[in-house]
C-alpha cells in the first residue's frame, strides 16, 4: 500500500504493508538509520522518534497510523556541519559510550525540551524513564540534556528545533 509520510520536514512516499513498524520503514526504505532496533517490544527506547511533538516508540508504531503526522528522527535535529543544540550538547558532554541508545535518548529529550527548555533533573529522569542505556552513561546524558536546554535558551529558541521539525 502506498503511504505518504512527512519525515524531518520532507514529504515521502513509500510502499509498505500498513502494519509495518515505522522503525523498519525509516531504516529500510528511507535510509534513516538513526533510530535503532533494540528490543522490538517497546521496552528499551532505542527506536524513539518524535511524532507531532511527542516521543513515540517507532518499533511498535504501525506505519499506517502515520499518515498526515509529522515525524522527526535524530537526523532532523541538525547536520554534521551544523549540529542542533541537542547534538551539540551531547558532543560537548561526550555523552555517548557505544552510542546505541543515544538517538533514542535524544529524541525523548527533544520532546521534553520542546515543552520545557529548563527541566529539572526529576523531569529528565521522568521523560527518559523508558530509555535504557547498557553502557551506563546516564550521568553524562543528564548533563548533556541540561546543557542543551542552556544552549537553546541562550540562542533564544522557544523550544528545541521548532520550525525545522514541526
Amino acid at each position: 500500500m502506498a503511504i505518504s509520510l512527512k519525515v524531518n520536514g520532507e514529504d515521502k512516499r513509500i510502499d509498505a504493508d500498513p502494519a509495518t513498524p515505522l522503525l523498519y520503514v525509516l531504516r529500510d526504505d528511507l535510509a534513516l538509520n538513526g533510530a535503532k532496533y533494540g528490543c522490538g517490544l517497546g521496552q528499551c527506547g532505542s527506536c524513539m522518534v518524535v511524532v507531532n511533538g511527542e516521543a513515540v516508540l517507532s518499533c511498535m508504531t504501525p506505519v499506517m497510523l502515520m499518515e498526515g503526522r509529522e515525524i522527526t528522527t535524530v537526523e532532523g535535529l541538525g547536520t554534521i556541519e551544523e549540529p542542533g543544540p541537542l547534538q551539540q550538547a551531547f558532543i560537548e558532554m561526550q555523552a555517548a559510550q557505544c552510542g546505541y541508545c543515544i538517538p533514542g535518548m535524544m529524541m525523548s529529550a527533544h520532546a521534553l525540551l520542546r515543552r520545557n527548555a529548563n527541566p529539572s533533573d526529576e523531569d529528565i529522569r521522568q521523560a527518559l524513564g523508558t530509555n535504557l542505556c547498557r553502557c551506563g552513561t546516564h550521568m553524562r546524558i543528564m548533563a548533556a540534556i541540561r546543557r542543551a536546554g542552556e544552549l537553546m535558551q541562550a540562542a533564544g529558541l522557544p523550544a528545541a528545533g521548532e520550525g525545522r521539525t514541526g
Binding site: 504493508d17 500498513p18 502494519a19 509495518t20 513498524p21 523498519y24 532496533y37 528490543c39 522490538g40 517490544l41 517497546g42 521496552q43 511524532v51 507531532n52 511527542e54 516521543a55 513515540v56 516508540l57 511498535m60 508504531t61 504501525p62 499506517m64 497510523l65 526529576e122 529522569r125 521522568q126 524513564g129 523508558t130
Partner: protein, 462 residues
C-alpha cells in the same frame, strides 16, 4: 394569633431537634498528651505495627507521592468535593504528636479526631472500627515512632453544607456501626483471620464494594466491584470476570508477588496494595486469600471448563520466544479497523509467549478485557505501565502519543470482540477522550512505591 402560636411551636420543635442532634453529634476533646511523641515503645510492637500499617495501606492515602511518608496532604477526590488526608506523623503541631493512645484508638474505632471533630468517611473507619485494641496499640506505636514531619494539611473543599462536620453524625447514624467483628465459629481460624484482615484494617471493600449516593458502601453488594483513583476495582465476589477463576492459591501468589501468570500484573492503586503486602507473613496472605476466594464461590462448570482450556494454552512451561527484527508482523486477523492496530502495536508483546510479569498478558486471560467497564484497559492503553526505578518491574509503553481517541476505541472494540464473549462496550471514544484530557481523573504512578513517585504520569492534572 393561631398562626403565631403554630409558628412558635414549630420553632421550638426545630430548636429541640437541633439541640438533640448536637447532643448526638457532640464528642469531647481528648486532652493534649505532651509526652505522646517522646514515649518509648517496644521494638517488637513497632515492628508489628509496621506490618499492620502495610495491611491498612495507610501510606497510600496519607502521603503525597514524592513527599515524606505519612505526612498527609494528598487530595482525595470524592463526589462531594476534595478531601485532604491528614499528617499522621508525630509532629506536635501539624501531625498527631499530641495524640494519646486513647485519642488514636477513638479515631480508629469511631472516626473522631482528638479535638472531637467527626472525620469524613474517606478515612475508612467503617472498617477500622473492627481493629482490635492490641492491633491499634501496635499501629500507634509504629506511627508515633516515625520521623515527625511538619506539614500543614490543606483545607478541604466540599460542596455546601458538608464542611459542617457535625452533619457527619447523621451519616454515621445511617451507615456506621461501631463494634468488633465476631468470629464465625463455622469457619476455620484461617478464614476468620482473613476476614478480620480484609474487612477490618485491609478495608478491601472501600474500593471493591460499590458506594451509594451518600458515599457509603452498599452492603447488599459487598465486593461487587467499585472504583478507586480513576481505576475500576474489579468485582471480587461471584461476579468476578477473571477468565480463569481465582482460587485461594492463585490469589495468594498474586497478593504476594503483584502478578500471576494467568491473571497479569497488579497496577493502578492495587500496585500499592500488593507492594505493601510484601511486609506480611505468608500465613496472613494465605488467610486473606482463603477468605476472599470463599466469597467468590464455586465457579460454574462452563467457566471451569473454559479455564481448563486457557490453563492448557497459557499455563507454565511454555517456550519463551522473543520477537526479532527479521520477523514480519503476522497479518491482521480480520478487517475490523482495530485489527491491524492490534496486530502491529499489541500482538508483538501480548502474543509473544513471554512469561509474566515481563511479557504482555494474552488478552484471553485479561480481566480488563472481560470487565463490564473498559476504564482500566483505557488507562493502560493511554498511559502504559511506567517503569519502576532501579529494579525489575513490569513495563508497558503508553500509546497516548501514537493513537487517536478513535483509533484506541477501534482497538479496544476489536479486543473485546476477539478475546471475550461479552457485549460490546458503549461510547468508547468519549471515554477515551475524557480519560486522555483528565476530565475523568486517573492517577498513574510507577509501581515501585509511593515515596519515590512524585509524578502522576497520567492525564494532565487540572
Amino acid at each position: 394569633m393561631r398562626i403565631i402560636r403554630a409558628f412558635s411551636f414549630l420553632l421550638t420543635l426545630l430548636l429541640v431537634a437541633a439541640v438533640a442532634f448536637l447532643f448526638v453529634a457532640w464528642r469531647s476533646e481528648i486532652p493534649v498528651d505532651e509526652q505522646a511523641a517522646s514515649a518509648a515503645h517496644p521494638p517488637e510492637l513497632v515492628a508489628k505495627g509496621a506490618q499492620l500499617a502495610a495491611v491498612g495501606n495507610c501510606i497510600a492515602c496519607h502521603t503525597v507521592p514524592g513527599k515524606p511518608a505519612f505526612s498527609g496532604g494528598l487530595a482525595v477526590p470524592t463526589p462531594f468535593g476534595t478531601i485532604h488526608s491528614t499528617n499522621i506523623t508525630p509532629d506536635p503541631e501539624t501531625g498527631i504528636g499530641h495524640w494519646s493512645e486513647a485519642a488514636f484508638e477513638r479515631a480508629m474505632r469511631e472516626g473522631v479526631d482528638r479535638d472531637g471533630n467527626h472525620l469524613y468517611p474517606a478515612f475508612p473507619y467503617d472498617h477500622f472500627t473492627w481493629v482490635t485494641p492490641e492491633d491499634n496499640k501496635a499501629l500507634y506505636a509504629f506511627l508515633m515512632t516515625r520521623q515527625p514531619v511538619k506539614a500543614e494539611t490543606p483545607d478541604n473543599s466540599l460542596t455546601f453544607p458538608l464542611e459542617f462536620r457535625p452533619l457527619l453524625a447523621g451519616w454515621k447514624l445511617l451507615f456506621f456501626r461501631k463494634g468488633q467483628l465476631q468470629p464465625d465459629p463455622g469457619q476455620s481460624a484461617e478464614w476468620n483471620r482473613g476476614r478480620y484482615l480484609s474487612e477490618g484494617l485491609g478495608h478491601c471493600g472501600a474500593c471493591h464494594t460499590p458506594r451509594n449516593s451518600l458515599g457509603a458502601e452498599d452492603v447488599e453488594r459487598h465486593f461487587a466491584g467499585g472504583e478507586a483513583e480513576g481505576w475500576q476495582a474489579y468485582a471480587i465476589d461471584e461476579n468476578s470476570k477473571a477468565p480463569v477463576p481465582w482460587d485461594a492459591e492463585s490469589l495468594a501468589f498474586y497478593l504476594r508477588n503483584g502478578w500471576h501468570e494467568l491473571h497479569g500484573v497488579s497496577r493502578g492503586p492495587m500496585a500499592e496494595v500488593t507492594g505493601n503486602l510484601s511486609l506480611l507473613p505468608d500465613s496472613d496472605i494465605a488467610a486473606i486469600s482463603i477468605y476472599v476466594a470463599s466469597l467468590m464461590g464455586e465457579p460454574s462448570p462452563e467457566r471451569l471448563q473454559k479455564a481448563e482450556q486457557l490453563r492448557a494454552q497459557f499455563g507454565g512451561g511454555r517456550i519463551i520466544q522473543a520477537s526479532d527484527s527479521q520477523t514480519p508482523p503476522a497479518p491482521a486477523a480480520s478487517d475490523h479497523p482495530g485489527a491491524a492496530i492490534y496486530q502491529a502495536a499489541c500482538a508483538t508483546c501480548h502474543e509473544s509467549g513471554r512469561q509474566q510479569p515481563f511479557g504482555g498478558l494474552n488478552f484471553a486471560l485479561s480481566t480488563a478485557v472481560h470487565a463490564p467497564n473498559p476504564q482500566n484497559v483505557v488507562n493502560v492503553t493511554l498511559f502504559g505501565l511506567p517503569p519502576a526505578d532501579g529494579k525489575a518491574s513490569a513495563v508497558m509503553p503508553g500509546f497516548a502519543a501514537m493513537l487517536t481517541d478513535r483509533q484506541i476505541a477501534d482497538l479496544l472494540a476489536y479486543m473485546r470482540e476477539q478475546f471475550s464473549d461479552e457485549a460490546a462496550w458503549q461510547d468508547l471514544e468519549a471515554q477515551v477522550a475524557n480519560t486522555r484530557s483528565g476530565k475523568y481523573h486517573v492517577a498513574v504512578r510507577p509501581s515501585d512505591g509511593i515515596e519515590r513517585a512524585p509524578h502522576n504520569v497520567g492525564a494532565k492534572e487540572e
